[in-house]
Amino acid sequence: MTAAPAPLSASDIVKAVTSRKLSALEATEAALARIAQHDDILNAFTDVTPDRARARARAVDAAIAAGRNPGPLAGVPFAVKNLFDVKGIATRAGSKINRDLAPAARDAALIERMEAAGAVLVGALNMGEYAYDFTGENVHDGPSRNPHDPSRMTGGSSGGSGSAVGGALVPVALGSDTNGSIRVPSSFCGIFGLKPTYGRLSRARSFPFVASLDHLGPLARSVRDLALAYDAMQGPDADDAACTTRLPEPVTPVLAENIASLRIALAGGYFQKNLFPEAIHAVAHVAKALGVSRTLEIPEAARARAAAYVITTAEGASLHLDRLRRRPNDFDPAVRDRLIAGAMVPAALVDRAQKFRRWYRAKLLEIFKSVDVLIAPATPCVAPKIGQVNFVLDGIELPVRAHIGLHTQPISFIGLPVVAVPVPLQPMPIGVQVIAPPWREDLALRVAYALERMGAVSAPPPRGL
């Protein structure tokens, strides 16, 4: 086996592979070696697919040798949350029950698009059961572990995605975000995460959770890598009813555009409460770097979070109703009991939550007439210890699991695009949300890129490995 070189970014791998300084197979072997070396600690992967990965990498190398364009992600190893269909593997979605499903007949749409761009799938990643989770813990597969301190949570539900990228096992991973499940692990694991506009990226052949709120997106160690993966995955897809018909709007070419003309403000009120000192410090740090002093009140954010919670529990219950009847003892008990309760929320209240969503969307669109980008905390705290049940927020002891997403839920509720950027505090990093109007991922990514270039945010090397 090729000796594992120092970890490379996706961008560096593409440059090295296309210039023939590194083969796609060598890049793949390096990722496989790092997974073999560190995954016993991190527990990020539930499935490693070395045979498939090597075959794909050889195909990329063959394309280059034949003088064909290998694509903008040539030779980049990546992995996916295990709710993405991977051909030949049962899509477990973090559950015990789904292991009984037939192996997937075809890859998820986003895997196909990543591989069409030259990327190389190396495996599937641990996650909270059925994505109803903010911790990254899993009773069936064990918790994914934080690469900066393995005694701490990764955050969830895309916990393995956060751990694998934060631990530099792969430069890019894909996750899903219904209420914060890309942004929370990005914050806790100190990496960049993009939750695009609702409907931007196809969810075809991924296991759902809450159809009204489910998004898919990439996690990476730099903004450029995030943008490369995002650009490769854009485009309409008739196989996802919510997927946009908009043509791809590539962001990589505009990343470095000047942000001086952008109107940026801090999200006030709700978003400045329920925060530990590290979260307050991280937001202030980003605001200072951007020269932002303006604060905008976001009206009814607490109610937005409440409505997201109600829609989530009711739609999640609907999805799993038959499994709750047939196999209740095969669920994580905490997930099962929440889903059963969700089945009991009256339909009229769920409908009102969906109506409130329309109202809240109109309010936020009004706000975005006077601002281009909003800054808000990603999580109330740095990664808690694995198994931690409660924390104290603003003087009140609250369950950790239900409150990690306090600041992410009111944003995904109306599908706004967000880049979570990592502030590399010691000993643990923490993220900040850079939020843009619908379909303006470019604005959030440009601001994130500017922050990265000025050194204000960065993905720290894994401190716990």
Binding site: T197, Y198, G199, S212, A241, A242, E300, A302, R303, R305, A306, A307, Y309, V310, T313, L321, L324, R325, P328, P333, A334, R336, D337, R338, I340, A341, G342, A343, M344, V345, P346, L349, V350, D351, R352, A353, Q354, K355, F356, R357, R358, W359, R361, A402, I414, G415, L416, P438, W439
Partner: protein, 60 residues
């Protein structure tokens, strides 16, 4: 809703939906439902025009 009423409600809905609930799960189901109803009440209290469309298939 009073605790007894919630317990009765849980039993009735579980029966209507054919959902099995063991006694050991009941406190957690009740606790979760109480949180959901409290948050749903927060939404319910907010006055909306009758013409407001739900965002069932949402377009950002």
């Amino acid at each position: 809703m009073a605790t007894d009423s919630i317990d009765d409600y849980i039993s009735s809905v579980a029966k209507a939906l054919a959902l099995p609930i063991e006694d050991a799960w009941r406190p957690a189901v009740r606790a979760n439902l109480e949180v959901s109803l409290r948050l749903a009440r927060l939404v319910d209290e907010f006055p909306l025009p009758d013409e407001t469309e739900p965002a069932g298939v949402f377009t950002a």
